[in-house]
């Protein structure tokens, strides 16, 4: 089962090796060695991190590495586009370094480390699952040899520029991490964009129009309302996600043709120009394919193939004192580490909440809503709860703490045999939270 889960990561790994080999055809031995040793280091490093620290830290480290890679990619794409105009930039030395043995080896090593760590993060129990780790390393080694053989069969005309290599490697790493909830970058990116836009529009309205927005008609408010939709985050995230790959593709298509003015014979001159145009067209193949890989990553992020634990809310009622009591043991075991949802109705009002035992052994009661997003509720997967609206992952350890995307905590009393919640407090808490966040009120998922 673990092997099946690793298919996207291992396939991405094979293509990463293939692209690196084709990108540095004169450095095949060093690229192969660096890729393999990098992968081993990545896997071993992840295992050490998982053994030494709580789960959140290793995931955080790998995610930061991925994020840094994406930022670097952004920077290089802008520089590449600038350079394609023929202007000299201070980073020209860096571009030359990449094509040396050391540069190609360092790039391959780094790609291998991150890819290895991402694969290790995908394994269940990565800190002690020795058979799975050995299978992973063996599989990666076989795929490296496979990539080496396939690369030799590719037509010689299919060349890859260093910026194309970077585009493909970043795209493939992000693709392979997008199916791991705690490494996925696209969802947090969309969320940040959404929050950024919301905050900006809100502050702008506050400072410019409110309180006396006499000249702004309701239709205008309708358009402004679009900026508060979930789609703002998605489309804004897509722009940030795709732009660097598109900039690299543009940079390649703007590359200057070689100077042929010194060649006397017209046919020879045109032949050289045609060959340069053809080579440039082939170099575009990888960045254009990378755009498709980025799209696949975004799709995986938006529609992850993860089965969420999403129990149907169980209706509960209050006793005469207005207290809701939920037993620890019974049909539902509150201490099994899973979230358990409940629905409480009173006087035409309702509130949804869930009870969860955190990894620290602490029972906690929270609303099935946060104070920011529309109350679409939470699911649970891979050691986190996830907000269905903004796809933010909340580590189980932090459930019960107030603020941000965390579900709103509810006061409760823990007794020996269960938890007791005040119904009125619950309803009030839900009402005040939801009235602030729900543009379209929904009964639940």
């Amino acid at each position: 089962m673990a092997a099946v889960k690793l298919i996207p990561q291992l396939l991405s790994w094979a293509v990463i090796v293939l692209v690196l080999l084709r990108g540095f055809p004169a450095r095949r031995p060093i690229v192969t060695a660096a890729c393999l040793s990098g992968f081993l280091v990545g896997v071993a490093g992840a295992v050490v991190l998982f053994r030494s620290f709580p789960e959140t830290i290793p995931f955080g480290v790998v995610k930061s590495a991925l994020g840094t890679g994406f930022l670097l990619f952004w920077g290089i794409s802008v520089v590449a586009l600038y350079r394609s105009t023929g202007r000299r930039v201070a980073t020209s030395g860096g571009a030359r370094f990449v094509t040396t043995s050391s540069g190609a080896g360092a790039g391959a090593l780094l790609a291998g480390i991150i890819a290895g760590a991402v694969c290790a993060c995908r394994l269940p129990g990565p800190d002690g699952n020795l058979p799975a780790l050995l299978t992973l390393v063996l599989g990666a080694g076989i795929l490296t040899l496979f990539a080496l053989a396939v690369e030799k069969m590719l037509p010689a005309s299919l060349t890859v520029s260093p910026s194309g290599v970077l585009t493909a490697v970043v795209a493939l790493l992000l693709f392979s991490s997008s199916s791991i909830l705690r490494l996925d970058l696209f969802s947090p990116l969309s969320m940040k964009v959404m929050k950024g836009v919301h905050d900006f529009v809100h502050q702008f309205m506050e400072s410019v129009l409110i309180p006396d927005h006499l000249f702004v008609r309701s239709e205008v408010w309708g358009y402004i309302g679009l900026l508060f939709g979930k789609e703002v985050g998605f489309w804004g995230g897509m722009v940030i996600w795709f732009t660097p790959a598109i900039l690299i593709a543009l940079a390649i298509s703007f590359e200057r043709l070689p100077s042929v003015a010194h060649i006397r014979q017209g046919a020879q001159r045109r032949k050289l120009v045609a060959a340069a145009i053809k080579a440039r067209r082939y170099r575009l193949v990888i960045p254009v394919l990378s755009v498709a890989i980025f799209a696949a990553g975004a799709y995986q992020s938006r529609f992850p193939s993860v089965e969420y634990w999403d129990p149907k809310p169980v209706p509960v009622s209050a006793n005469q004192e207005g207290e809701i009591f939920i037993p620890k043991k019974g049909e539902i075991d509150l201490e099994d580490g899973k979230l358990h949802k409940y629905l409480f109705k009173q006087g035409g009002q309702e509130a949804r909440f869930f009870v969860l035992m955190t990894p620290g052994g602490q029972l906690t009661v929270v609303l099935d809503a946060c104070s920011i997003c529309k109350p679409d509720g939470y699911g649970q997967a891979e050691g986190t709860v996830i907000c269905y609206y903004c796809v933010t992952l909340i580590p189980l350890e932090t459930v019960g703490k107030p603020g941000g995307c965390n579900p709103v905590p509810i006061p409760f009393a823990e007794r020996a045999d269960g938890v007791a919640i005040d119904g009125k407090t619950l309803i009030n808490s839900w009402s005040s939270t939801v009235s602030a966040t729900a543009r379209v009120k929904e009964g639940g998922k």
């Binding site: 014979q265 017209g266 046919a267 020879q268 001159r269 045109r270 032949k271 120009v273 045609a274 060959a275």
Partner: protein, 224 residues
């Protein structure tokens, strides 16, 4: 003597039961102007098509410019024609809805990339600088043939093939076209193979071979 640009050994071509060209051994030195004469159906055009890579032989060997044409794939033959050969036909085969300069640029396009300035210059070289924007229907037969010459030489071929290029022209136009070809050959140093019925046209070449019923029956040196 210059090295041979064309070498054939027992080269023959049959269409079903009809043997259009019987085993032929021929060598053409680089830079030579070879005239090929014979009656209709004697195998002149067949020989030209084989040498130009437009058709494949039935038997024998054929090397042109060091390339064994029998070993080339269809793509290889297309590249050979594109880069090595220029052809002038009796019927011109100009695209009627393109101007003279566009017809020349079309040959550039299939070779590599179009270059209008170079195409204009080629037409100026053949004396058509004032007819650049005219379509074939607006040109005389001689002018059309000169567009064909510009088109044939635009990609700097090593081998120029002419299949009755003056067959449709009057005497004055014929002389003009032949003089033009002689000048261009002196400048570009390509090899010419000219198929013709016309004895006078054949004498413009260095050597003439005579085919009859697919067999080389005679050859004579026409120029020193």
């Amino acid at each position: 003597m210059a090295p041979a640009i064309i070498e054939t050994g027992g080269l023959s071509k049959s269409y079903g039961d009809i043997c259009a060209l019987k085993p032929l051994d021929l060598q053409v030195p680089e830079g030579e102007w070879l005239s090929v004469m014979g009656h209709s159906g004697s195998g002149k055009s067949t020989l030209m098509n084989l040498v130009g890579g437009l058709d494949r032989p039935s038997a024998g060997s054929l090397r042109v410019g060091g390339e064994d044409l029998l070993m080339l794939s269809e793509d290889g033959l297309a590249r050979f024609r594109r880069e090595f050969v220029g052809i002038i036909f009796q019927q011109h085969h100009l695209v009627p809805y393109l101007t003279a300069v566009e017809n020349v640029m079309l040959a550039q396009y299939f070779h590599s990339v179009p270059d209008e300035a170079e195409a204009r210059s080629a037409l100026e070289r053949v004396g058509l600088g004032h007819r650049l924007k005219n379509r074939p229907g607006e040109l005389s037969g001689g002018e059309q043939q000169r567009v064909c010459i510009a088109r044939a030489i635009i990609n700097s071929p090593k081998l120029l093939l002419g299949d009755e290029p003056t067959g449709n022209l009057d005497h004055k136009s014929t002389v003009m076209v032949m003089e033009l070809l002689r000048e261009l050959r002196a400048e570009e140093r390509f090899t010419v193979i000219m198929v013709t019925h016309n004895q006078e046209v054949a004498t413009w070449g260095d050597r003439t071979i005579y085919l009859d019923d697919g067999v080389l029956v005679r050859e004579e040196r026409t120029r020193s």
